[in-house]
């Protein structure tokens, strides 16, 4: 019972880790993409549709990544190419993605697919206590690996330094000869791929079916997670697990016949998000750690 619970918690945190890690890179480069929810939904529906049609999970995953990336490209075109307001453009992306994913997915409602297989043989995952850590699928391990890679990239490599510089002061980065817009384009596309993969995980693994708006606010929670992690990749992992645990309390509560209304337990992740945001901002750290050119459009002179 405990093992099953821990397993569900870990799996619930996977899409959050992926989407939040992508968004972290985007924000570090100085762009706020509020369209996470839309990109995740596009990733989810494409992954489900292609897995269903082709019968191959790999094709589905790839479709999720690509469609997340393409959705992000729309965002990039507007905020980088046309210097539109990032907050409003992100909202537009969410509205657009929610609508388009629902439209694409309307033919796939009620259909089922087979989920991702686990990586390790059952003998390993049947071990007590640590067995649960061997019971996951490849994407789950990949998500932690990506978070690690992002950390190495951002803080141990020259390009990571350039990316962070663009987020802190795009004018300085520009005068040093770095191409701010190119850096931001790359980050936005990477963010889109991660959101797409995170979205793809939902119908392929968590709940093997497609339903309209199935992310139910996970994109927004991932955004809060970036603030919670104060823009540090490592903190995203345990932040995500914490949120996973809070989300799962609802299921655990129902299973044990708690008398608390289920709606109250369902609202816990959202309340926890607010609580965390308050906690972070009351310490005053968010103000100092946030990339200082976040949401400021970069207009290069000719």
């Amino acid at each position: 019972m405990i093992d099953a619970l821990v397993l569900t918690i870990l799996m619930t945190s996977v899409p959050l880790i992926l989407a939040a890690t992508g968004e972290l890179v985007v924000e570090r480069s100085g762009v706020l993409n509020l369209g996470l929810e839309g990109m995740m939904l596009m990733g989810a529906v494409s992954a489900f549709a292609l897995t269903y049609v082709s019968g191959s999970l790999l094709v589905g995953l790839l479709a999720g990544v690509i469609s997340g990336c393409l959705t992000a490209a729309i965002f990039g075109f507007f905020v980088l190419g046309l210097a539109t307001n990032q907050v409003a453009t992100g909202l537009a992306l969410t509205i657009f993605g929610t609508g388009l994913s629902g439209l694409i997915g309307s033919d796939f409602v009620g259909k089922a697919i087979e989920g991702l297989p686990t990586v390790f043989p059952e003998t390993l995952s049947n071990m007590s206590f640590i067995g649960v850590f061997f019971a996951l699928d490849a994407i789950a391990y990949l998500s932690v690996f990506i978070a690690l890679l992002v950390w190495i990239f951002l803080f141990k490599s020259k390009y990571g330094l350039v990316l962070r510089a663009c987020g802190i002061s795009h004018n300085s980065a520009h005068s040093l000869g770095y191409k701010v817009l190119t850096v931001r384009w790359c980050s936005i596309l990477f963010g889109g791929m991660m959101a797409g993969l995170g979205g793809a995980y939902l119908p392929l693994m968590l709940t093997p079916h497609w339903s309209e708006g199935m992310t139910s606010g996970r994109g927004w929670i991932a955004l809060a997670l970036v603030v919670f992690a104060s823009w540090m990749p490592s903190r995203i992992i345990y932040g995500a697990i914490l949120f996973g645990a809070i989300t799962i309390m609802q299921l655990a509560g129902q299973a044990r016949g708690w008398t608390i209304p289920p709606q109250f337990l369902s609202s816990l992740p959202y309340i926890a998000t607010i609580f965390v945001l308050v906690l972070i901002s009351s310490k005053g750290t968010a103000k100092y750690l946030a990339p200082s050119d976040l949401t400021r459009p970069f207009i290069s002179s000719k």
Binding site: F78, A88, F96, G97, S106, W220, V227, K302
Partner: protein, 364 residues
Amino acid sequence: MFYLTPRKEISLFFTISIPIISILLTIIFGFFIFSILGYDPGKALYHFFISPLSRLDKIADLFVKACPLLIIGTGLVLCFRANIWNIGAEGQLIMGAVFSGGLALSFSETQSVWLLPAMAIFSFIGGALWALFPALLKIKLRTNEILVTLMLTYVASLFLDWLVRGPWRSPTSFGFPLTKYYPDVALISKIYFPGIGNISQLHWGVFIAILICLLCWFAMEKTVFGFQIKLIGDSPQALRFSGFNESKTTITLFIISGGLAGLAGMIEVSANIGQLQPNISFGYGFTAIIVAFLARLNPAAVIISGLLIALIEVGGDSAQIALAIPKVVTGVFKGILLFFLLAGETLTKYEIGFNYNQKSSLND
């Protein structure tokens, strides 16, 4: 590639033509989307944009659909103008409906004509309280209001769900998640036109909505408060130097926009539904964001933009009934429209130039 140069003055031509061009481009996009999906694009566009305007009662329905959008949209215009991002109008709408609904259900036997005004006040308070919380967090702790208002929307919707399934469920609803019906005095009546009678569902709330838009326009353009709003948005420093209190204005704006969203919730329920149920809004709080931008953040223009967006909504219904096009396609339209509007915003602020010689971009 192309580059942007700031314009010295914003041209009037762009200000007026951008919403129109955006709508035309959205329709062209719609044409392609319908073709790709395998629907007859001509027929689909007819049902979307022409059919809702074809009869007087359908036009009346347009006004009914636009009613909550106008009330919420005009409140959001004030916020967005001041660079305050209240994205949780949907939740504030729900809390307004809950507060006013609580009042209506606890006085279910009353005949008093004062119930309706009292409900309006309660709904305003409900929505305002739900917006006050993120407002206080924003000014005291600088907590991001976008995320907080959004999260509170989910909480509000679950709260309503719990109420109508639990303590407020009517004993005669056969287990359905519905409350008792409101007393008659808690319902908003339809407008009676002498000689014609009622036109479809057209109710007095629509009249109130238009009045609110005009009032907000007046407040924005002709009062010191309106001046403060614009000042916060354009130059917060100037505001501080001029001795205005930024926090106070911020809180007032949250209260107004939240309260108006709450009022919209009450009107929606009292005029169209007559009882509380798990879903009382169809994303009006989110759609109103587009309404505000389509109006180019002008409260009076919200009347027109609200009706236009209502056209897409009603058109979506009619296309779903006639051609079985999924209703979510309206979301695609709304998203695309917002994209074009934002791109248009750039055109008013910057000149777009093209440089064919890539190297020159680094030399300047």
